[in-house]
């Protein structure tokens, strides 16, 4: 499985670390520069978190460039189903992470790229895999090597 062959979700921390250019997470900025090689899904929770972090002008700029990608992102404003959220809370997710997990399941997305350690190390039994930005870049590199 490679992120070049599937629809993926970038967690909010990837977007924000990338745009902030957080020194400890350089792969996030690098991944944002490779958006044209990705197929992105933006679920409601992530969209709302981006709205909470960016001002209107910044959001407009972001969506203008996203809409120019070779494969425009799938934007999904549907709320997640209560019963699926509850299932993830029972697995140990906090409410917010449970909502993101429910979105992934409902949208059939099999990969979440995140720097959230709760997702990366503490949860098991998720129907999708979690990788960090460095791992995502590594998959892109393997794929594009001759």
């Amino acid at each position: 499985m490679s992120i070049q062959d599937e629809w993926i979700v970038l967690d909010t921390n990837i977007w924000i670390f990338g745009l902030r250019r957080v020194p400890n997470f350089p792969a996030c900025a690098e991944l944002l520069e490779s958006l044209n090689r990705l197929r992105l899904v933006l679920p409601r929770q992530i969209l709302q978190e981006l709205q909470a972090n960016l001002v209107e002008q910044e959001l407009r700029t972001l969506f203008r460039l996203l809409n120019r990608l070779p494969v425009p992102p799938k934007v999904d404003w549907q709320k997640a189903a209560r019963e699926i959220i509850a299932k993830y809370e029972q697995l140990g997710c906090r409410l917010g992470d449970a909502v993101v997990s429910a979105h992934l399941e409902e949208l059939g997305v099999k990969t979440l790229v995140t720097e959230n350690r709760d997702f990366l190390t503490e949860l098991t039994g998720l129907p999708f895999r979690t990788i960090n930005a460095s791992q995502a870049l590594a998959e892109l590199t393997v794929k594009s090597s001759p």
Binding site: T12, R20, F25, E49, A80, I85, G96, V100
Partner: protein
């Protein structure tokens, strides 16, 4: 159109099809990088003006993002 652009356009138009496609793809890539960089500059400038750009504090940013996530989820899915 300047003379230089006209000359460049002629050179590009004379490229072989595969080179032309590679060139257009590369221009798209560079354009994306430039646009992301511009957005990042705007965002970082605003954060700096607001005193919120603490580059060494990734953990604090992560914590804030988690708080925002919880607040939004609690509002959207009360009870």
């Amino acid at each position: 159109m300047t003379k230089r652009v006209e000359e460049l356009a002629r050179q590009i138009a004379s490229l072989e099809k595969s080179d032309l496609q590679a060139l257009l793809d590369r221009v798209e890539e560079l354009s994306l990088c430039h646009n992301i960089e511009t957005l990042s500059d705007q965002y970082r400038k605003r954060l700096a003006q607001e005193g919120e750009l603490h580059e060494e504090e990734a953990e604090k940013v992560l914590l804030k993002l988690k708080q925002i996530r919880q607040e939004i989820a609690s509002r959207e899915y009360p009870g």
